[in-house]
């Protein structure tokens, strides 16, 4: 027993002693990037990281943050909540702010980052949990699953459909928008759901589920799934020769899905996805930075502009706060992104305006980053209808959210 007790006592003492250590205020300002580089989110990982690297490059090119270099501290969260907690604890002492987080990780860390007073940006979180629970130390700069659900229902209504089926994978990221879609479709629009098929991911084939969803000859089918399930479902749809309109969830807006559906007529598959502001001067600056630091033109649909914007916002907030202290930075976030203030589109312009003593209103390549001050969510995320042309997703039109469908 003594052999066991001694290491245990050592562990406890170590735990107590090391906690008294403090952080590092010298050297570079370290910005955490905690994302799924492996696992379910790995398809989004590298392009997201490219967006983040471009932001760090731009910040350093413009003189850094408070005269210090910015440094990206990359952590893989394995696309799991446990990986997010472990990954965050690996870098927590080292970083001044956190970004890159996805839905699962954000929800798992919600209480912890608030407790740690760690400014945290969610550039790719759709989770409905953040509809009400962010705003103090965690902000979401992309659309919520609630928005996606409403927009998809609105799209189906505008296309004149009345009978819709649903085929939805049972994971948080896919069920959240699907449940909103169903609620809005039935209760606000008055449409009919003729089949609501839910399935567990991980199968090789989804023949039975596809059969159930399409059996009632629906006019349109809402498919909420990840790419791994989405590809066999689409192959089954093509093989059976169905012609119902397909509306897909954001998780299916990846190149693999577009390639799998390349032979379908243009417009057969529609998706509502947050879109970039391509006309903004911020976008051209972002595209140049992406080319320079990632060595390629930016793709679309991987939240790369949101990844870029989160670090620009954090860096501007640090500049405005003249500090990297968590609460001080958090207190400046709304001052940086919300009106009133001088409209700025780049980090350099933002720093210059702050140095002149002006209040600023930053809009980035992802569009307006106006945030609700109570929830930390985007006031009006820009969403476009995407369809597949020649094996790749293409933005068709920007659609405005119908306020009457809001929940």
């Amino acid at each position: 027993m003594r052999r066991i007790l001694l290491p245990l006592v050592a562990i406890v003492v170590l735990g107590g002693v090391v906690l008294s250590c403090g952080g590092d205020d010298e050297g570079p300002v370290k910005l955490g990037f905690l994302a799924g580089l492996s696992g379910d989110y790995s398809e989004w990982g590298p392009p997201s990281q490219d967006g983040a690297e471009a932001a760090i490059g731009v910040i350093n090119e413009s003189g850094g943050i408070l005269g210090r270099d910015a440094e990206l501290v990359v952590q893989d969260n394995l696309s799991t909540p446990e990986g997010a907690v472990t990954g965050y604890n690996r870098i927590r002492e080292e970083i001044d702010a956190l970004g890159g987080v996805e839905s699962d990780g954000a929800v798992a860390l919600l209480g912890t980052v608030a407790e740690d007073e760690m400014p945290t940006m969610c550039p790719a979180c759709g989770t409905t949990v953040l509809d009400t629970e962010g705003g103090n130390f965690i902000w979401r700069i992309t659309a919520s699953d609630t928005t996606y659900g409403i927009i998809s229902a609105q799209l189906a209504r505008d296309l004149g459909f009345t009978r819709v089926a649903m085929l939805v994978q049972q994971t948080e990221g896919t069920e959240s928008p699907a449940n909103v879609f169903k609620d809005v479709w039935e209760n606000k629009i008055g449409g009919e759901i003729i089949a609501d098929v839910r399935f567990a991911p991980g199968s090789d084939s989804y023949q039975a589920e596809v059969e159930q969803a399409f059996a009632g000859d629906p006019e349109a089918v809402y498919i909420g799934a990840g790419p791994q399930a989405g590809i066999p479902i689409l192959r089954e749809y093509i093989a059976r020769g169905y012609d119902a309109q397909i509306l897909v969830s954001p998780d299916l807006q990846v190149p693999d899905i577009a390639e799998a559906a390349a032979e379908l007529p243009t417009g057969r598959i529609l998706a509502a996805q947050v879109t970039d502001d391509f006309e903004s001067p911020a976008y051209s600056a972002f595209a140049a930075a992406h080319q320079e630091y990632a060595g390629k033109a930016p793709p679309t649909g991987f939240y790369e502009t949101n990844q870029f914007d989160q670090y620009i916002v954090l860096a501007l907030a640090m500049t405005a706060a003249e500090s990297t202290d968590g609460p001080a930075v958090a207190a400046q976030i709304y001052n940086i992104v919300n009106a009133p203030g001088t409209k700025v589109y780049t980090y350099a312009d933002g720093v210059a305006a702050l140095e002149r003593g002006e209040q600023i209103d930053y809009d980035g390549p992802s569009g307006s980053i106006e945030l609700h001050t109570t929830t930390g969510n985007l006031v009006s995320p820009k969403v476009a209808v995407q369809h597949i042309v020649g094996g790749s997703y293409t933005a068709r039109e920007v659609i405005e959210l119908d306020a009457s469908l809001g929940r």
Partner: protein, 349 residues
């Protein structure tokens, strides 16, 4: 400019507190897995299912009313939540054990694996109770009103290792008792054990329920660490990690599960912390599981019984005891305890 967290994380207090807490939790679960699988021969691939039952029970009963849109949130205190989790996992283990324990080895393994997935699907589909795929992002923790942030984490580290110590003491006691010897006898030669009067069916069920109850006690610790109950948390990965650690540390050895967990999780972290240039990050991510597999292969190649062996644990040096020896020892122990004969007579059997 960017770096991986790299070596600087090794000097981070939060990193160590978090990692050591996680090691404590996995160590407790793996020691319990060792009781039923290592000594009892019940290859349980559904340990995460019991952990899920315990975690959800604790979280649901301690949730304050109105915080989540669920039908049942009584807001019990933490201690009541722990007791409820232990009770519920015990009941579920009993109900699962009744049919599952009729099967042996790989059949039992498949059944327990399936039950774990059934529990996960229930967590997804009983949304009115479990909050469905969203889960609970707020979990009641003890001592929150007494300690702030880092101090609370250190306290929970102490509590976790206190629990691990208790589990170790329990398994140590079992290993030295007639009960433990009966378990090993049953594992090595069930007909012989039966012929010597060991009530195998009852012993298996008792052990399965005992482990279930104890897992229920560990589950809240996992929730305090993770602070998130969601069906995705309770995938088979948890079970595989515990099994890998058990094989690594030495199946059926007493301290092997703790050592296995420590080596596995520390090794995993070190591999994760290797600094690589950005262009090699995808390779690094891909190599990660490969490195862990390689570690396992190396250990099994050079120490087939694991880092610590059962023989060493039980002082079996000269030769490996036959199953009959183990069975005899178990019976001798029973006879001594029941006063039906002295030890000499028992050995003479």
């Amino acid at each position: 400019m960017s770096t991986l967290a790299a070596i600087s994380a090794l000097g981070s207090p939060t990193f160590w507190v978090s990692l050591l807490t996680l090691i404590g939790i996995y160590a407790s679960v793996t020691m319990l897995l060792n009781v039923e699988s290592g000594w009892g021969g019940m290859w349980d691939l559904g340990i995460v299912g019991l952990l899920a039952i315990g975690s959800y029970t604790y979280t649901i009963v301690t949730n304050p009313p109105g915080e989540f849109e669920v039908s049942y949130a009584p807001g019990w205190p933490v201690w009541a939540g722990i007791l409820a989790a232990m009770l519920m996992t015990g009941i579920v283990a009993f109900l699962v054990g009744l049919p599952a324990l009729r099967a042996r080895r790989e059949y039992f393994l498949i059944i327990t694996f399936a039950f774990a997935e059934v529990f996960r699907q229930l967590a997804i589909n009983l949304g009115d109770l479990t909050h469905g795929t969203v889960g609970f992002n707020s979990v009641a923790r003890p001592f929150e009103s007494f300690f702030q942030r880092d101090a609370l984490r250190a306290v929970l580290l102490v509590v976790t290792w206190g629990a691990a110590l208790l589990v170790y003491a329990l398994t140590r006691r079992i290993s030295r008792s007639g009960y433990g010897r009966a378990l090993r006898a049953m594992r090595d030669n069930e007909p012989a054990a039966l012929s010597l009067g060991i009530r195998v069916s009852r012993l298996r069920l008792q052990t399965f329920v005992l482990v279930g109850v104890a897992i229920g006690g560990i589950a809240p610790l996992y929730m305090w660490w993770l602070r998130y109950a969601n069906p995705n948390v309770f995938k088979a990965q948890f079970t595989f990690t515990a099994w890998t650690a058990l094989v690594l540390g030495g199946i059926a050895s007493r301290f092997g599960p703790v050592l296995g967990v420590a080596v596995l999780l520390l090794f995993t972290e070190l591999v994760e912390l290797i600094d690589v240039p950005p262009e090699l990050r995808n390779v690094h991510v891909a190599v990660h599981p490969l490195a862990i597999g390689l570690l396992l292969v190396l250990v099994l190649r050079f120490r087939p019984e694991g880092l610590l062996s059962e023989r060493r644990t039980f002082g079996e040096r000269a030769r490996r005891q036959t199953s009959l020896d183990v069975a005899m020892a178990a019976v001798a122990s029973r006879l001594r305890r029941l006063g039906r004969g002295d030890a000499v007579q028992a050995e003479a059997l």
